[in-house]
């Protein structure tokens, strides 16, 4: 019952979104204000909605993929006693995410932004009796908050520079804006995006967020919430395009993140952790694309990534479900015999993300690389390709180790393994189909397929200001260059897929090199000790400072002064008290002395 309501509401939302899609396609953006939130002098902040080409696209992903994940959850969370709570939180999340993309001003975006952060906290720590999960949830929330501070400051700058937070007003005044201000704004907005979309240095929360139930990881940490940062930058593409410096920063951060986290993924053994690092890496790619000015490519990759990453996560969930909770791939193996459906969809997902020709990931990644080559040059492209290769490596490793070879788990697990019920596998299959055909949404020009660059055209439609939301960017590369770039990366991908089969797929157990962890591999396996670094840089000093301030500064320092006043007074009193000693001669002398002193005043 709960499941039907939970998932049903999303289905309804999806259908409504389709209707919106039609309407926007026919007559342009829809804008409506629900009520007046608050206003300060001329700054008016409204609870208003803007459904235009960009936002409705995001809405499709959110409600569509969301619906599939809700259905899946009916099966996955079946035995959990917090079943109803799960759907409540999940729906709350979708509500917040929709607020984020449907808002017509930055404040609405911020509402949704923090809202999804909150739901992420609630859902990561869903199984709250485990304190570690709670810590992970807190970490996510707090890291997000660090980013949010940046976003907030960026909003302040926007108010000061443009006098309004509404997209309509801000983007209409871009032409006359001070470039220095714009750069600052972009950088601050990007800080927010770094937090929400887990870019370096604010990414460590995402792997820990795997503590939450797998559907949560799929929906929030793959398909939607983490893409909020990409959405933000795309929405503000006008601003970013005005600031080459900011774009540069975005690109660098994206690229470094992409490569760095891909390396870490190579040596992770928890099935979800690999996918988590993969997500961060793919997000890095998206930001690289944004930094290169290829906003559409980034959004395209958001879309395809939503498909195959959700697919991968949900199938991982299926594996975990079937293995009775096991998540370590070293204890798996040969699962394709036991869970064929899961195996096939996982395979599709792996190939999609690796860039297997004609699957969705192939198209979106290639577009990013092409743009990188066009705007950045060969070196950037080469680095990006490295990340692509690494992606293929760790994904194939995951695929082969989990599904090929001999089963390495316990006897009890072997008995238990079963394919997941159809309520779980059907969404998987739908997502698999999408992962295959999703690429057709935005095929590149040079391939001359029907409906090429459909998405780019869609997003270039006129927004509420009458100007294109995301102006068409031309990739000035010759067709031959594009072909050769594409072939090169594709060849590499195929090579990896085949080669790794022999390293991981054919053997029964994990290769010895995998099992040994020395030197550099050890560093990688331990995630480059970044968490530990943060702990000693931020967490421990703060805690120490807290104790110190409390003990010394407050109790002994400031309060000491206050108490000192009191002590001083009473010491003075003690001195004075001794004057009164009961001795009458003494008193009389006192009087005489006093009188004498008084007489001195004659001479003043």
């Amino acid at each position: 019952m709960v499941g039907i309501i939970g998932a049903g509401s999303l289905l309804a939302s999806f259908l409504l979104t389709v209707m919106c899609l039609n309407q926007v396609g026919a007559s342009g953006p829809i804008q409506s204000t629900l009520y007046h939130f608050m206003s300060i002098d001329r700054l008016s902040l409204d609870f208003g909605f803007l459904v235009d080409q960009l936002s409705v696209w995001m809405m499709m992903i959110i409600t569509g993929v969301g619906f599939l994940i809700h259905v899946y959850s009916i099966g996955y969370m079946h035995d959990d006693e917090g079943f109803y709570k799960f759907f409540a939180y999940l729906n709350l999340f979708v509500f917040s995410m929709l607020l984020l993309v449907m808002g017509d001003n930055f404040l609405m975006l911020f509402f949704g932004w923090e809202g999804v952060g909150l739901c992420s906290y609630l859902l990561i720590g869903f199984w709250y009796t485990n304190r570690d999960y709670g810590t992970a949830a807190r970490k996510a929330f707090i890291m997000n908050r660090v980013g949010d501070l940046g976003l907030l400051l960026g909003m302040f700058f926007i108010i000061k520079t443009f006098g309004s937070l509404a997209y309509k007003d801000v983007f209409a005044q871009l032409a006359g804006a001070d470039p220095a201000m714009v750069t600052v704004i972009c950088l601050l907005l990007f800080v927010g995006a770094m937090g929400k979309s887990a870019q370096i240095p604010l990414y460590t929360w995402l792997p820990d967020a795997m503590a939450g139930p797998t559907p949560v990881s799929a929906l929030i940490h793959a398909a939607t919430m983490v893409t909020a940062g990409v959405y933000l930058v795309t929405r503000c593409n006008g601003l970013f395009s005005m600031s080459p410096d900011a774009m540069h920063v975005v690109a660098i951060v994206g690229l470094v993140t992409a490569v760095f986290t891909a390396i870490i993924g190579l040596r992770q053994n928890d099935i979800k952790k690999v996918l988590a690092y993969s997500t961060v890496s793919q997000l890095g790619l998206m930001f690289l694309s944004l930094g290169m000015g290829a906003y559409v490519s980034a959004m395209f990759h958001v879309t395809t990534h939503a498909f195959f990453k959700a697919l991968l996560f949900l199938s991982a969930g299926s594996v975990i479900h079937g293995m009775g909770g096991e998540q370590d791939i070293r204890n798996m193996g040969g699962l394709r015999k036991y869970m064929p459906v899961t195996f096939w969809v996982f395979l599709i997902g792996t190939f999609a993300i690796s860039g297997f020709p004609l699957l969705s990931g192939f198209f979106s990644k290639d577009e990013i690389f092409a743009n990188t080559y066009a705007h950045g040059g060969a070196i950037w492209w080469a680095m990006a390709s490295v990340s692509a290769v690494l992606t293929a490596v760790y994904m194939c490793r995951l695929l082969y180790v989990t599904f090929f070879g001999e089963f390495r788990g316990t006897e009890e697990q072997r008995h238990h393994i079963h394919e997941s019920p159809s309520v779980m596998t059907i969404p998987l299959m739908v997502l698999a189909v999408l992962s295959v055909v999703g690429g057709l949404l935005n095929t590149p020009h040079f391939m001359h397929l029907p409906g090429s660059q459909w998405m780019a055209h869609w997003l270039a439609g006129n927004g509420v200001n009458g100007t294109p939301i995301v102006p068409m960017a031309e990739v000035h590369l010759s067709a031959s260059t594009e072909w050769s770039l594409m072939s090169f990366t594709t060849a590499l991908a195929l090579l990896v897929i085949v080669a790794l089969y022999f390293v991981y797929g054919k053997v029964a157990n994990l290769p010895v090199s995998d099992q040994k962890q020395t030197g550099f591999t050890k560093v990688v396996a331990n995630k480059f000790y970044v968490d530990e670094l943060y702990n000693s840089l931020f967490v421990k000093p703060t805690e120490a400072l807290s104790k110190f301030l409390y003990q010394y500064a407050d109790i002994q320092g400031v309060d000491g002064v206050v108490n000192g006043v009191g002590t001083g007074v009473s010491k003075l009193g003690a001195i004075f008290r001794r004057l009164q000693n009961g001795n009458i001669e003494y008193y009389l002398i006192g009087m005489v002395v006093g009188a004498a002193l008084l007489f001195l005043t004659i001479f003043i």
Binding site: G573, Q580, M591, G594, A595, L598
Partner: protein, 448 residues
Amino acid sequence: MFAGLFGKRDLLLPVTLLGLAAALGVSAMSLSTGDAGWGTQYTSMFSFDKYAQSFTAITLTSVLLLAGMSSWGFRTLNSSLGDHYALILFSLCGAVCMFSFTNLVMLFIGIEILSIPLYVLAGSRRDDLASNEAALKYFLMGAFATGILLFGMTLVYGSTGTFNTAAIGAAVERGVASPGMLKMGILLLVVGLSFKVSAVPFHFWAPDVYQGSPNTVTAFMATAVKTAGFAAFYRLFSTSFLGVNEFWSVGIAAIAGLTMTLSNFTAIFQTEFKRMMAYSSISHAGYLMMAILVAGQPGSAGAILLYMLTYSIATICAFSAYIVVAEPNGDGSFAAFNGLSKKQPLVALVMALSMLSLAGIPPLAGFFGKYFLFSTVMQQYPWLVVIAVINSAVSVYYYLKVIIAMYFTKEENTYEVLIPSSIRWVMVAGVVIITLLTVLPGNIFGLI
């Protein structure tokens, strides 16, 4: 007194009360009819003007309450009860003289009439060593101070040629032939009068004398005597010495500051209620000295009037509560008050109100007394007001100690506290007056 002679003990109190009430009624009537008084009497030595009338009225009020208190306070006395009342009334006469003098000699007479009965009363508990000591100390030091006072008067006469206060004032304005003598005289007068009101550094007698005397007598000393002293002090200086006020202001300011500070800080350490009240009394003297500084300014006399009234009533209420707690149980320390709020809530409430009023916490009457005082002084001596304010804060500490003992402390004592009805009446009357003053302090202030 005569009633006492005839052995009619029961008549004593009613007669006293009647007499006092009659006197009060008369002076109140004169005040309300705005009568200029009976003019100058006795070859212009004596002028019962508005000033005198107001002060008389308030002093009579306090003594009335005191008399009510005394019926129980003097219960142990048999033979000399009449004498006690007589002595108090004589002392009161002296006070009236001190309110209304227009001649230095009259002032002196008034002071003596005030003081001599007090010497006797202080030592009236013949078997109590402390009482004897108090009397002796008071007498010795009092004699000393009186001598100084007299000498001062002589010098003033010598330099101005007259004892009449108004004439002296005129002479001072004109300028005298030997200013040195005048100044010396003024200073000696300051010393003598400061002794009377227990200002530092002439205050050393006060803690011992207050503590040693019988409780009712202490109450009288703390209230009526102080009132008389300050009224006289003010009257003298505002009439006679305004011309040279730059000269004596320095000294008086110093005395005021010292008095406030020394007494408040010493009071913090007291563990005995009566001694604490002594120091509290000294501290209030310090605040009042500030009013002398602005003698002659409009409102300063009214400030003293209001302050003395609120202070007196509060002190009497405090003492009446103290008597019922301390005397039957023989314990005069703060600890005697433990848990009073549960045993006798009315008494505790009265004491609390008195303490808060003395501390000057709004909206109680004592606050307004302090307020008017500070505002008259503020314009010319802001820094002195700051010192006063700081001292007020310090004083809160020891006044609150009593309240803490009554309401907050968990340690209880097993003292019995019974309230005779006379004390109850006194307390109720006191609370009523304080409340009235809280709401309408302006009326008193505006009298002068």
